[in-house]
Structures are given as structure tokens and as C-alpha cells.
């Protein structure tokens, strides 16, 4: 074999994302297919997995093999690649009737909470109906083929990776729609007569012939790119083009012919009625996605399924570990020691934040890990919180049985303290002051010790702690929640040990009664209730991230509480203010304000700014939006005041705000994680446990943000926006009497959410202060 052929065969382009998707699809299909077969679904034959895997392999070959690598050098290779994507892979995939197996193969939670609602969605059903309409599918297939073969676009795809991916994606999607009409895979009913498939294929074949002939017989090179690239195997660009046309012609015609023969045999074999309607199935007229859901349900989608949710505590090993009180104490002790180091270094170490543990651990690492933990799991920081470790001792020393004053039994204090914390962060530049940070930690310990020592239960957590309240609100979007595994068990329970405590341990110190819990608010994930429940009925259950905020019935009253609204408002507006205060335009604005108004007292200016941006402006905006939505759509009777209306929509802003918190803190974590080495090494060197390392010291300097960080940040915002829009729609539905009114009311709030999304994106795209790192070069 010549060396260039050898080179050809070893030139593979491995794409991890694509490979993972294909493998995942294969696993899901096989899982679903086996479940369906086990339940006696005779429609699923052994040949189908072969067809499905064949289709996936063809896609992998087309996009990762030497065909992809050499498509820019030889048109015939490129054409072969298109042939695989448009004529071989799609029919193979549809012959495997993949929709039901893929749906049934999904994990139960994902199927019920995500896939089925998605398939039931009106928009998806409309799209499904449109794309499987023979006229639409035919036009899509034909136009996609012609448009991409226009020289301008074709050349563009050859020189740009993104355009090349777009070209292939559109070919595959259009071909999937086209061949769906021909194959009509189970459980779909054929929407038109089988006879229609004959002209459908014939006409497609004719236009394909015209396109191929154009390439084959053209006396000039249609795609100039191939004229510029070096010629391989002594083949001229014109010859290459002619062969490409022939490949398209012969390959396409062969597949069309095969499909035509198959359709003709079906018509021949079918009784009269079938040829006119489908393969012996009643026409449903309800759209393709509903057919899939219905069949998934009848063929075993919900057979023998337990009603329970996924439960982290039911996982062997992890569950046992988390339940142990000793686990929590160990985590708290580790964080307590860390806090001790922070205080020591903050007070005794250098006042240079990037090389001081008090400058980096709380403001870079802890915050980043905290929000990411909340995003993927729940409020695990409260579980490991060191401030509550000495609670028992405090109660022993100070009595610990006084009731928390009635006038403070609300969230006002916590909301105020949270705002105060954000003011202090900016006004005192906490991230840049290890000394202040150390004393804040000490004050925190003292406050929690005194308050928990004097008052009953977890008064500090429930009414005071600003960090805890930040986490309580953020964990409203978290996927895990402490909840009863089976409501029926609680209904027959007489002891209520989960709140009162019992022989197995103390009950909930935050006075939360598990059967009535609907969200993570006030829950510190201490798991006392888990240990106390004699029936082992409390778990860490998985919920869809909007479940907690989209409460219905009594749950809606919760969000009408003014104190809670204030807390949500601070959380949401601070997400924007805190991120915006580190970007260049806002820093410049602050400096110019101080100069032009001759302000010397920065804390005062920051205080005014915080009052304006955390409370006044957002409240006014909410109020104005509520007024506008009421003008657009009359509300149900009873929701009379504008502020009540604004409060009911406020929970909808939490996901977007939380996404911004995640993006912001994750940015610092990802860009400055190495500062821990610098600060740790410096501290060890100060104490003569190690020598100063240049490599570690270099980690204190800010590096350039990796190119993937901004897309990840924006992706987080995308998710937050979608959740927020969804919640706003649910609220609009509750507030109005008809779908039309709901849509009108929602559109007003949607505009505000979109504007906030745009603002968040703008903030993330600005040059950011690399807080907590050394900036080189001044």
C-alpha cells in the first residue's frame, strides 16, 4: 500500500462529544428494546438493534473517519460522506423504530419529568407534525440538498469548521424527516396513502439526478476550493467533480430504487384499506409524539414502577455514610479547622490577599464550590457548617431554652443582614482584606454561639445567618430536597419524631415538619429528621429544579410573605449588583461619580448604591411590570394589589439570578483556583514547614481565562432563563382566567426576564477584575 493510502486510513478525527452521544443512544436503545421485548411487544424484532447500530456506525464513519478528514481535499470523498448521512444512516435508524425504545430506555425520572412532558408539549407536537408532513419533509430534503450545493455556501462549509458542522447537521435532520415519511416507523401511523410514497420517492430521485448530472457533466469546476488544494493521486479537480457526481447519482438512485421496490411490495401485499391508510393501525390524528407516549405507556412505560423518587440516601455506601451523625461532625470539624487557619492567616499573615488563605479560600474556593454544590445537589454547606458545631456546648453553657422573640420571627433580619453583607463586601473590599475576613469569621462564630446558646433550636440558622439564607434561597433551585419518601406512611404516623425528636435522635431544630415540607427553605440538610424518623421514611429526594418554586395551592401563599419577598429580592438583585461591581464600566462609573461629586466617603457612596440597586430600583421595576401585565391581561379576582402581583412573580426570577451567581463564582473558581497553592505554600513557609516555591507563588497571578469558561457561563444563564420563563408562565396561568390572558401577562414578564438575561450576558462579557489574584504588569 502506498504511503498516501496508508496516511488516508490512519487519518481519523475523534470527536468525544459525538462519540459519547452515539454510545449513549446505543445504550438507551438497547435498554428500551430489551424492556419492550421482555414485555412481549412483538413489534420489536431482533433485526432492529442491528439496523439501529448500523445507522449509528454509519454516522460515526461519515463524521469521524478519513472521509471527514479528506473531504476538504477531494470532492468525491465529501460526496460519499453526504451520501452516508442522507441516504444510508437515516433509513437504517428509522427501520429500527427507535422512538419507543429510546423513550422506554431512559431512566424513569428523566422519562417522566422531561421526555414525556416534552413530547406532550404543544409546540413539539406541532413541530413533529410539520416535519413528518410529506410535502414539508420532501421540500426540506430537496431544498437542503440544493442550497448547500450552491458554490458560495459549499465553499464556506469547506473552509469553516462551524459551517461544515451546520451543513452536516442540516443534511442529517432533513434526511431523517424525509425517510420518516417513507419508513413510517412503529408506532406512527401513515398519514397519507402508501401510494403517495411512490411519487414522493420518484420526484426526489429525479431532482437528485438533475443535481448529480450538473456535477458530472459540468465542464468547469463548480467549487473553486478544490481547484486551490493540492491534487492527490494525480486526479484533476474536474475529474474529481465528475466522480463525485457519479457517486451521488449511483448511490442515491440505488437507495431510491430499493425504497420504491419496498413501497411497491407493501402496496402489493397490503389489503385495499391498508394501502390507503397505514399498516393496519388506526389513524390517530394526534401527532407523532403523542403516539409514542401512548405506546410507551401501554407497552410498559409504567409497568411495575415504584412510585418513589430517586433518593441519594438509598445509594449503598453514600447513603449509609451521609446518615451517620459522625459524618456531619467530621465534615464540620474539617471546616472548623479550615476556618481556624483562615483566621490565623488573616490576622497574622501578610495583608496581600492572593497569598493569604483568608484572601483566597473564602472568596474564591469556598464560594465557587458552594454554588456548584447547590447547582448539582443541594445545601450541603449548611450540613458541613462549622459555626453550628459548638451549638450543644453553647446551649449547655447559656441555657438555650428561651423562645426567639416573636417580632423577629421572619426573614426581615436575615434579608437586612444579607444586604449589609453585600455592602460590606464592596465598601470594605472584603476580598482584598484578609484581616477583615478573619474578623468576620470570628464574629460569625461568636454570634452563632451566643444566639444558639440563648435561644431554642437553630435560631441563628433560621432567623439570622445571611450565608445560610443565601443558601436557602439558592437551594430552591437545587435538585435535592429532604422529603418524606412515602406520604402514606406519614399519614399513619403518630409520633412525628422527625420534628419532635425521639429515641433515635433529636428532631428538626428548624421546626420543619417533613410531611409538610415543600421546599428547601430553612432546611440545613442536617439530616436529624432522617435519623429521628422511626420508619426510615425521610430521604434526600430528587426533584425537578422548578418544583419548589412552582408551588400550587397553599404553597403560593408562602411567596406572598413580604419578609420572604424581601429576601428573594435581595438574592436576585444582588446577583447582578455583585457581578456588575467588578466589571470595568461600573468601576469607572463609580470613580467618575466620586470625582465629579467630590465624594470622599466611599462606604457612603456604596451604601447609597446598594440601597438603590438592591431594593429601590428592582422593586420599582417589579411594580411597573406588574402594572403593565395587569393592563395587558386582567387578573383573577382577589389578587388586588400590584405589590401582591409582583410578589407572586418574584420566585420566577430566582433561577436566572442563581444562574448568574453560579456563573460569577464559578468564573473566579476556574480562573483562580491555583491561588490556594500560592497561599498554602506561603503559609507553610512562614511556619517553616516548607520552603517557598516559585511555582506555587506563580499561581497567585491571574492567568488568562480559558476559552471554554464564557460559553459555560452563558450556558448556565440559558438554563436559568428557561427555568425562569417557565416559572413565570406557571404564575401567569395561576393569575389569569384564560390561556390568552396568561400568554399576554407572561409576555410582559418574559420581556423583563429577557432584558435581565441580556444584562447578565453583557456583564459576563465585560473585562472583569481578577479579584483575589495578583495582576501582573500593573
Amino acid at each position: 500500500m502506498s504511503s498516501d493510502w496508508q496516511a488516508f486510513w490512519i487519518s481519523w478525527r475523534f470527536d468525544p462529544g459525538l462519540s459519547l452521544s452515539l454510545v449513549l443512544a446505543a445504550i438507551l436503545y438497547l435498554r428500551g428494546w430489551m424492556r419492550l421485548r421482555n414485555r412481549g411487544a412483538r413489534q420489536f424484532t431482533p433485526g432492529q438493534p442491528v439496523a439501529f447500530f448500523g445507522g449509528l456506525v454509519v454516522i460515526a464513519l461519515a463524521l469521524q473517519s478519513p472521509l471527514e478528514v479528506f473531504s476538504g481535499l477531494l470532492l468525491q470523498v465529501h460526496m460519499l460522506q453526504h451520501l452516508l448521512l442522507m441516504f444510508i444512516a437515516p433509513p437504517l435508524l428509522w427501520l429500527a423504530a427507535p422512538e419507543l425504545p429510546l423513550l422506554v430506555g431512559l431512566p424513569r425520572g428523566l422519562r417522566r419529568q422531561v421526555a414525556v412532558p416534552l413530547l406532550r408539549d404543544e409546540g413539539v407536537r406541532m413541530l413533529g407534525r410539520a416535519l413528518t408532513n410529506p410535502i414539508v419533509a420532501w421540500l426540506l430534503f430537496v431544498l437542503t440538498g440544493w442550497i448547500w450545493h450552491l458554490p458560495g455556501l459549499y465553499n464556506r462549509a469547506l473552509t469553516s469548521n462551524s459551517w461544515h458542522v451546520a451543513e452536516h447537521a442540516s443534511f442529517l435532520i432533513a434526511a431523517l424527516c424525509f425517510w420518516h415519511v417513507v419508513v413510517a416507523p412503529f408506532p406512527h401511523t401513515r398519514r397519507t396513502s402508501r401510494w403517495v410514497v411512490l411519487p414522493y420517492l420518484l420526484l426526489a430521485g429525479l431532482q437528485g439526478t438533475a443535481l448529480s448530472a450538473l456535477l458530472t457533466f459540468s465542464d468547469r469546476v463548480l467549487y473553486p476550493h478544490y481547484q486551490t488544494v493540492p491534487r492527490l493521486w494525480n486526479m484533476t479537480a474536474l475529474d474529481d467533480q465528475a466522480i463525485a457526481g457519479a457517486i451521488m447519482w449511483c448511490g442515491g438512485s440505488f437507495v431510491y430504487l430499493l425504497a420504491l421496490s419496498w413501497a411497491a411490495v407493501e402496496i402489493w401485499n397490503a389489503p385495499q384499506a391498508l394501502a390507503g391508510g397505514g399498516r393496519g393501525r388506526a389513524t390517530t390524528g394526534s401527532g407523532p409524539s403523542l403516539a409514542v407516549i401512548r405506546h410507551s405507556e401501554t407497552l410498559g412505560g409504567h409497568v411495575a414502577e415504584k412510585p418513589s423518587r430517586w433518593d441519594l440516601l438509598a445509594i449503598p455506601g453514600i447513603g449509609t455514610l451521609l446518615r451517620q451523625a459522625a459524618t456531619r461532625r467530621t465534615l464540620q470539624t474539617i471546616l472548623l479547622l479550615t476556618a481556624g487557619l483562615i483566621v490565623l492567616d488573616g490576622v497574622l499573615g501578610p495583608a496581600i490577599s492572593p497569598i493569604n488563605l483568608a484572601g483566597v479560600l473564602p472568596w474564591i474556593h469556598w464560594r465557587g464550590v458552594l454554588v456548584l454544590g447547590l447547582l448539582v445537589a443541594g445545601n450541603f454547606f449548611c450540613m458541613a457548617c462549622p459555626f453550628t458545631l459548638p451549638r450543644k456546648m453553647a446551649k449547655h453553657l447559656l441555657g438555650g431554652n428561651r423562645a426567639w422573640p416573636a417580632f423577629l420571627r421572619s426573614k426581615w433580619l436575615a434579608a437586612g443582614l444579607l444586604a449589609l453583607f453585600f455592602w460590606a463586601y464592596e465598601a470594605l473590599a472584603l476580598w482584598d482584606s484578609p484581616w477583615w475576613t478573619a474578623w468576620i469569621v470570628v464574629t460569625y462564630f461568636a454570634a452563632s454561639f451566643v444566639i444558639d446558646g440563648f435561644f431554642r433550636g437553630a435560631a441563628f440558622c433560621k432567623y439570622v445567618c445571611p450565608i445560610g439564607h443565601f443558601q436557602f434561597v439558592a437551594s430552591l433551585v437545587s435538585p435535592l430536597q429532604v422529603a418524606a419518601r412515602d406520604a402514606n406512611v406519614c399519614a399513619t404516623c403518630t409520633t412525628h419524631d422527625c420534628i419532635r425528636g425521639g429515641p433515635q435522635g433529636p428532631g428538626c431544630q428548624s421546626d420543619l415538619f417533613v410531611p409538610q415540607k415543600t421546599n428547601n427553605l430553612d432546611c440545613t440538610f442536617c439530616l436529624d429528621c432522617v435519623r429521628a424518623c422511626p420508619k426510615d421514611n425521610v430521604g434526600l429526594l430528587a426533584f425537578v429544579p422548578t418544583d419548589q418554586l412552582a408551588a400550587t395551592g397553599d404553597g403560593t401563599r408562602l411567596w406572598q410573605r413580604r419578609d420572604l419577598a424581601a429576601l428573594l429580592l435581595v438574592f436576585c438583585s444582588a446577583a447582578f449588583v455583585n457581578a456588575a461591581w467588578m466589571i470595568a464600566p461600573v468601576v469607572a462609573l463609580e470613580q467618575s461619580l466620586m470625582q465629579s461629586w467630590s465624594i470622599e466617603n466611599r462606604p457612603l457612596l456604596v451604601g447609597c448604591g446598594i440601597l438603590l440597586t438592591l431594593f429601590a430600583a428592582p422593586a420599582a421595576l417589579l411594580w411597573a411590570t406588574a402594572a403593565l401585565s395587569r393592563v395587558f391581561a386582567p387578573q383573577r379576582a382577589g389578587d388586588s394589589t400590584l405589590s401582591a402581583l409582583a410578589r407572586s412573580y418574584l420566585p420566577a426570577f430566582v433561577p436566572l439570578a442563581f444562574a448568574l451567581w453560579c456563573a460569577h463564582y464559578a468564573f473566579h473558581l476556574f480562573t483562580s483556583a491555583g491561588t490556594l497553592f500560592a497561599a498554602g505554600n506561603r503559609m507553610l513557609a512562614d511556619w517553616h514547614f516548607a520552603s517557598l516555591s516559585e511555582a506555587a507563588a506563580a499561581c497567585a497571578c491571574c492567568g488568562e481565562a480559558a476559552s471554554w469558561i464564557l460559553p459555560v457561563e452563558i450556558l448556565l444563564l440559558d438554563g436559568g432563563l428557561c427555568l425562569s420563563l417557565f416559572l413565570a408562565y406557571r404564575t401567569a396561568e395561576r393569575q389569569t382566567d384564560s390561556s390568552a390572558s396568561a400568554l399576554r401577562a407572561w409576555s410582559v414578564w418574559a420581556v423583563l426576564l429577557l432584558a435581565l438575561f441580556a444584562l447578565a450576558v453583557w456583564i459576563l462579557m465585560q473585562p472583569m477584575q481578577m479579584r483575589g489574584t495578583l495582576v501582573l504588569g500593573g
Binding site: S2, S3, D4, A7, F8, I10, S11, W12, R13, D15, G17, L18, S21, V69, F70, L73, L110, Q113, V114, P117, L118, D121, E122, G123, V124, R125, M126, L127, T159, S160, N161, S162, V165, H225, T228, V229, P230, R231, N234, V544, P545, T546, S707, L710, P711, I714, L715, D718, G719, L721, C722, L723, L725, F726, Y729, S739, A740, L743, V761, M765
Partner: protein, 179 residues
């Protein structure tokens, strides 16, 4: 908007994640002959931009156009845009390991300076020989795109679920009105 849309959004974005990957290939920026060899250089992205870009080389026999497998290649890029007395120069070797196409050798180059650059390619040890062949050509680096365009696809992603969701709701409203 059903929450299922969020999962869909992430699936789509996962599939889109490969879109911005670099690949050797792209467009031809230079093709020329020296001695018995013919060199063709490709650049990606097209046009080459400030930041990271990829230069790939295909070396062929001048007469037979057979690709040559064994050779060494070195690039020197010199900026023609003076900044005071400073001229930026980048020197790098090319190798087969950085190229996906085993016929090519490539190099990933990074610079922040836009404008005209002079590229010198030196090829040696062709099939074990001792001669050096040199090629020189200009390369125009365009300024970095506005940052927005790097992430526009991610920003626009929620539009897909949003439009589908809206279509569904509007249809429901239309049906309710007609009932």
C-alpha cells in the same frame, strides 16, 4: 416553558460543543515549488485571526505530486507591523502529531498582533536528504472578532425552545378562541 426544554437545551448544546474545534485543513494560503518539492500551506480559521490559528503543510514531489512522508518543517512568522522598535517573531516546528490528516504536518500558532506577517517555511531532511528548501509568503491576520460572536450561538440557544414554546401556546390560544 416546560422544564423539559432545559434538558433539551443542554442536549443540543452538548452536541454543539464540537462546533468551534480547530481542525487542520481550512483554506490554502500558499502553494509554491522549491527544488524538487511542492509545498501547500492551509490555514484555519478562514480568514486567520488574532488569537489561535492553525497552519498545516502538505509537501509533495514536484513532478509526480506524490505526497512526501519524511521531512522536517519549521516556520518563522515575522510581524510587519512595527510597534516602536519591536518586531514580533514566532518560531515553531511543524509536526505530524498535531495534524489530524496524516498527510499533513501542522502547528498551532498564537499571537495578539493583527496585520501583515511574513511567513518563512524551511523544509529539510526530505526523504533523509541534506538540502533545505525555503518558502516565503505574506499572511494577513485580521483583528479578533468582537467577543460577542464567539458566544453568539450560546446566547441564541434559548431561542429554539422559546419559539417552539410560543408556537404551542399561540396555537392553544387560537384553538380556545375558535371553540
Amino acid at each position: 416553558m416546560p422544564r423539559a426544554w432545559i434538558v433539551l437545551l443542554f442536549c443540543v448544546s452538548f452536541l454543539c460543543s464540537g462546533v468551534t474545534a480547530f481542525a487542520d485543513g481550512g483554506a490554502v494560503v500558499f502553494s509554491g515549488e522549491s527544488g524538487p518539492v511542492r509545498a501547500t500551506l492551509f490555514v484555519e480559521p478562514v480568514p486567520p485571526r488574532v488569537g489561535q490559528f492553525d497552519l498545516s503543510l502538505l509537501l509533495q514531489d514536484r513532478d509526480s505530486l506524490e505526497p512526501i512522508a519524511a521531512y522536517g518543517a519549521h516556520l518563522t512568522l515575522t510581524s510587519e507591523a512595527f510597534e516602536g522598535d519591536l518586531v514580533e517573531q514566532i518560531e515553531t516546528g511543524m509536526d505530524r502529531d498535531s495534524a489530524t490528516n496524516a498527510l499533513l504536518q501542522s502547528a498551532l500558532i498564537e499571537t495578539e498582533r493583527a496585520g501583515r506577517w511574513q511567513v518563512t517555511l524551511v523544509v529539510d531532511q526530505v526523504n533523509g536528504g541534506f538540502h533545505e528548501y525555503s518558502f516565503s509568503f505574506p499572511l494577513e491576520l485580521v483583528p479578533r472578532r468582537a467577543r460577542f460572536w464567539d458566544v453568539a450561538i450560546w446566547i441564541a440557544l434559548p431561542l429554539i425552545p422559546l419559539l417552539l414554546f410560543l408556537a404551542g401556546r399561540i396555537r392553544r390560544v387560537a384553538r380556545e378562541l375558535s371553540d
